[in-house]
């Protein structure tokens, strides 16, 4: 037995690092992180919407980074800037479109079953985080829409006391929230959400009969009932 060839179960950690490694490899071994198969019930188009949402988020991030190269005013002044802004605008539209369909699917599949409540919760937090990131994005477009959105939403913020520290009419503050703080928080929540799906596996069908049930007669009887 040596540290290089010990299996996860054999390995006895003697350091914090080793303990974290053992816990990680037990919870999320490579075959769970990057599997080549899924349970046989994962065969519906509804399952692609989580991936479509994440991929759209990626396009939102990339187009956002491209916009930062030109700065906050760029898209008013250049046609390339305007096109880049359009990429960001439409990827956000698709992002929310796919996320809503994904959410509807997960609700009607009661995907929180089997100790997957945290997966559901991180999903809801991802939605809310996305709304927050999008909101600060609208507040920094430095056009009429931004003026109006900031002017109206300040009333909601102020009504609940949040406006005292979160000033939607302060462009400098909103740019940093939109480009740095909030995307970071959102990314962390989304990563947690995806890791939880990998950890627990895709939820089995509601009222599914365990295919390992030995008695096929009993199974047929159940199907008939």
């Amino acid at each position: 037995m040596s540290p290089e060839t010990d299996t996860v179960e054999e390995f006895t950690p003697t350091t914090w690092t080793g303990s974290v490694r053992k816990k990680w490899l037990r919870t999320l071994p490579p075959e769970k992180m990057l599997p080549e198969h899924q349970p046989v019930y994962v065969s519906s188009w509804i399952y692609v919407f989580g991936m479509l949402t994440i991929v759209s988020m990626l396009v939102v991030f990339v187009s956002g980074v491209l916009l930062t190269l030109g700065g906050v005013q760029w898209f008013h002044e250049s046609s390339l800037g305007r096109f880049t802004n359009s990429l960001h605008y439409w990827s956000v539209q698709l992002f929310f479109l796919f996320m809503v369909v994904h959410l509807w699917g997960k609700f009607w599949m009661a995907a929180w079953r089997g100790k997957r409540a945290l997966t559901w919760i991180t999903g809801v937090l991802s939605f809310l985080g996305s709304v927050g990131v999008a909101f600060t994005g609208y507040a920094i477009t430095t056009n009429f829409n931004a003026q109006w959105i900031a002017f109206e939403s300040k009333d909601v913020m102020n009504a609940i006391g949040v406006g005292a520290v979160f000033n939607v009419t302060n462009l400098g503050q909103m740019v940093l929230y939109h480009v740095a703080a909030l995307p970071l928080v959102l990314a962390i929540i989304v990563v947690m959400h995806v890791l939880l799906v990998r950890k627990h596996g895709v939820v089995p069908p509601i009222d599914a009969i365990d295919p390992q049930v030995a008695d096929s007669t009993a199974r047929t009887a159940e199907v008939a009932s």
Partner: protein, 331 residues
């Protein structure tokens, strides 16, 4: 094959049959599809960009409204001057005993008369003698005197039976420097110098637009433009976008509350329950939304709500192949 055994299927790691599934390939295809869609939509439809409003634009297109707004700032009766925290002292809105707006405190002080009229006018290097005298008279006067001048002139200007918004028709009276200051501010706005004064606010780097945005909302100029674009709260404005672009459909659950008659008492209605609801709409609706948020977040734990997918079995479509081959427990 007890019921308990089948319940635990949800909890156990799956040991049943599997199918080949390439997640990263699916991701790559999805990325390609989304990229093509985004580039295509961008090339075809572009994105909205209605130019920002300026004070020059306001004073040029609606000089009477700009003038009247300057008067209300001096009178201390404008929306900004009477807003409450975080801009100035006051009670603000509340939900019953919860006065969160007030408890937030005045963290971004705005003195409407000073910030919107006096300071920009005083920034002029060589003001005309009449303006200089008016500024001196205002600054030397006590706050009660300032309010009296402003209030009296504002009432006289707005009087529907008298001037009705026309400064030339205001009857003679004790208005102090208010008319001169308001006229000078309007002229300054038309020249564009007012925008510069309010944007920079005397600083080299200035990235906080709070003051200018508050002022922009005090008149009817910005409000009218929002109405024209269907962006008012009670016409689902929270969900809409300028022009014919799609807006924020995902905010429907928040926007719907602002449409309810309970939160839209007519201006003429002075009291009643719907008056209170309307005046405190933002705070009350925010409370409703927090409640909805917690319901949404904790759906897995809420009896009834979490059973809806079983009662309305759309899931049978998702897993029809599985049920056909391996069976489904009856209720």
């Amino acid at each position: 094959m007890s019921r308990k055994n089948n319940d635990s299927l949800d909890y156990r790691p799956w040991t049943g049959p599997n199918r080949h599934y390439d997640i990263l390939k699916e991701g790559a295809i999805a990325l390609l599809v989304v990229t093509v869609l985004v580039v295509g939509l961008s090339a075809l439809f572009s994105s909205p960009d209605d130019p920002a409003l300026t004070f020059k634009g306001w004073a040029t297109s609606s000089p009477d409204d700009f003038y009247a707004t300057m008067v209300t700032e001096l009178a201390g009766t404008s929306a900004t001057a009477t807003y409450g925290p975080p801009y100035n002292e006051g009670d603000g809105v509340s939900v019953g005993p919860l006065a969160l707006q007030k408890w937030g405190g005045v963290t971004h002080p705005v003195d409407a008369a000073q910030d919107f009229v006096i300071t920009p006018l005083a920034s002029q290097a060589n003001p005309p003698a009449e303006l200089k005298a008016a500024l001196d008279a205002w600054t030397a006067a006590a706050p009660e005197q300032q309010q009296k001048w402003g209030g009296d002139y504002s009432d006289a200007l707005a009087d529907p039976a008298g001037a009705n918004g026309d400064a030339t028709k205001v009857p003679a009276g004790e208005y102090g420097p208010v008319p001169v200051l308001s006229k000078a501010a309007t002229d300054m706005a038309v020249s564009g110098a007012y925008d510069n004064a309010l944007t920079g606010q005397g600083q080299f780097f200035q990235t906080d637009q709070t003051k200018q945005l508050l002022l922009m909302g005090d008149g009817t100029f910005m409000d009218d433009k929002a109405t024209e674009l269907n962006l008012q709260g009670n016409t689902w404005g929270m969900m809409n976008e300028a022009g014919s672009w799609p807006g924020q459909q995902w905010l429907a659950f928040a926007s719907v509350w602002y449409q309810l008659p309970a939160f839209n008492a007519p201006d003429e209605q002075a009291d009643g329950f719907t008056r209170t609801l309307t005046d405190n709409a933002d705070a009350i609706i925010a409370t409703i939304l927090v409640f909805l948020l917690f319901t949404f977040l904790f759906t897995p734990f809420i009896p009834g709500l979490r059973s809806i997918p079983k009662w309305i079995p759309l899931h049978r479509l998702v897993w029809k192949d599985y049920y056909k081959k391996y069976g489904r427990r009856s209720a």
